[in-house]
């Protein structure tokens, strides 16, 4: 096959048609469960504090303003959807574009499609079951299995990630051939992420999807901690055939704790020479008003399409990848 001219789509029309069918199946899935579809803004006055996310920033000139106002393209619809939950939406889903700067590769396009949904009165276990049902419905997968983060590391890396000191993790990373990073990395979570990416991800979920559960509290993101074991968070990630497909939480709604985590993110950003991100006051106020008990998950739709249609690159499943957008 010759490489297509740059006006042409990155993927075939046939692939895009198949993609449309899967998208409509996803909508059916949620309609059957009475989870309704919402739309939230792609542009927001605030970006997130996540250390490893970089938002696109643009300038808005209001016709009645004299100065430009900075706006951020959303890295996920999470905060806006949680504000809807506080406002009484009940269970909701959204199929939307998310935007992340500095990300491009076989599994990354800076603009990508995300399926995010929230289930009121669900915990993370119930939501994992629902992710499993969705994958069986759209990809005809075998039932999902659960693996703890702790056991995955013991099995594939030979140490307990919840007890290990940074020295142990460094030593192990060196032994496994990652001395270039391990030699000068002070952040234990970066080392754990490295080993997860390189030694665990390629080995799990080969036949059926796997939910990795019980992430260390230091990687809780917006998940609540496990009451019986505060070393871990009620956060899960779903992997299938070497692809990280979804990330979900039993949602933390404690506004004080959330604020603390955002501030800690910003301290880490500072220590890594990254820009500090202002904390979104609307989100904090919403959390203070009280978010209902819920679990939520974000799933990469382009990656789901790659798995469904057996494609090896994200550019094969989107109409116009960034190089020709």
């Amino acid at each position: 096959m010759t490489s297509p001219s740059s006006w042409q789509p990155s993927s075939s029309i046939e692939t895009l048609r198949q993609r449309a069918q899967i998208t409509s199946k996803i909508r059916q899935f949620f309609a059957q469960r009475e989870v309704w579809e919402v739309e939230t803004p792609a542009l927001s006055h605030h970006g997130v504090t996540d250390v490893h996310l970089s938002a696109f920033k643009t300038d808005f000139l209001h016709p009645q303003a004299v100065e430009y106002c900075p706006l951020f393209l959303q890295t996920s619809p999470e905060f806006a959807m949680k504000r809807l939950l506080v406002a009484g939406s009940g269970s909701i889903f959204q199929l939307s574009k998310a935007f992340r700067n500095e990300e491009a590769g076989s599994y990354h396009n800076p603009e990508f499609s995300m399926l995010e949904w929230y289930r009121t009165d669900f915990d993370h276990w119930q939501l994992i079951d629902e992710v499993d049902a969705l994958l069986q419905y759209t990809l005809a997968t075998e039932p999902l299995s659960v693996l703890t983060y702790q056991n995955a590391f013991i099995q594939y890396c030979g140490f307990d990630p919840l007890e290990a000191t940074i020295e142990t993790v460094c030593k192990r990373a060196c032994e496994l051939g990652f001395e270039l990073i391990a030699n000068d990395e002070q952040d234990i979570d970066v080392l754990l992420q490295l080993l997860c990416c390189e030694c665990i991800e390629p080995n799990i979920g080969r036949e059926a999807p796997v939910a990795l559960v019980g992430f260390p509290a230091s990687q809780a993101a917006l998940a609540r901690l496990e009451p019986s074991d505060p070393r871990i968070a009620r956060r899960f990630e779903v992997y299938f055939r070497g692809i990280e497909l979804a990330n979900g939480y039993h949602e933390l709604s404690d506004s004080a704790e959330l604020k603390q985590r955002f501030e800690r993110d910003n301290q880490t950003r500072l220590s890594k020479g990254k820009q500090v991100m202002a904390i979104d006051p609307c989100f904090i106020e919403a959390m203070e008003a009280g978010m209902p008990e819920c679990a939520g998950v974000a799933l990469g739709i382009d990656r789901l399409m790659m798995l469904a249609l057996n494609k090896s690159s994200i550019t094969d499943v989107v109409s116009f990848a960034i190089d020709r957008a």
Partner: protein, 189 residues
């Protein structure tokens, strides 16, 4: 030498790793949704020829390697060094046995070779893809036999041993693919 960030790692870039110049072959971007981004980089070590994968933190920098390829004519071996000449400047350069390595068996006087220089010194000598060499010794084959019966070993002028068809005889010049070490044809007269 300049430093290069992982963002600049493209196939063909020469970088230093473990004190050895390396050629970047592939660069893959890997990132957990909520985590640090990495680059999984496939490289070839130029001196040992070893191909390996190394993972870098995205944005990390490494020192570039001052490596360049130059086409020179092979002149002679003085017992210790192999001498090459630039046909434009007549400048000569000597490579040691280590740089020539196994490729010594494809060195034909007055043939062009690619010499890889690191900081000005030869580290790799790569012969042309095809060289023509005389057979100095091979068993006499059966008359009328053509290719396809597995052939027989033949020793060439440089000492290289290749499998040749039975009909090829001592004293003939043959064309060999230096990458695979396989017989291609009789040389065109």
């Amino acid at each position: 030498m300049a430093n290069y960030s992982t963002n600049e790692f493209k196939a063909g870039l020469k970088i230093m790793l473990d004190g050895e110049p390396c050629n970047v072959l592939e660069n893959e971007y890997v990132k957990p949704g909520k985590g640090q981004a990495f680059n999984r980089v496939k490289i070839r070590k130029l001196i040992s020829g070893k191909v390996l994968e190394k993972t870098f933190r995205s944005g990390d920098s490494v020192e570039g390697a001052d490596v360049m390829d130059t086409d020179l004519t092979y002149l002679y071996n003085d017992g210790e060094f192999y001498h090459f000449m630039n046909n434009d400047t007549f400048e000569q350069i000597a490579a040691d046995e280590k740089a020539v390595g196994e490729n010594v068996k494809w060195l034909v006087e007055n043939d062009e070779c690619t010499i890889t220089l690191w900081n000005g010194s030869p580290i790799v000598v790569t012969p042309q893809n095809f060289v023509e060499l005389e057979i100095t010794e091979t068993d006499p084959g059966l008359k009328g036999d053509t290719a396809g019966t597995g052939g027989k070993p033949a020793t060439l002028a440089t000492g290289a041993v290749v499998r040749v068809p039975l009909f090829v005889q001592t004293g003939e010049v043959i064309k060999v693919d230096t990458r695979s070490g396989e017989y291609v044809s009789r040389a065109q007269k």
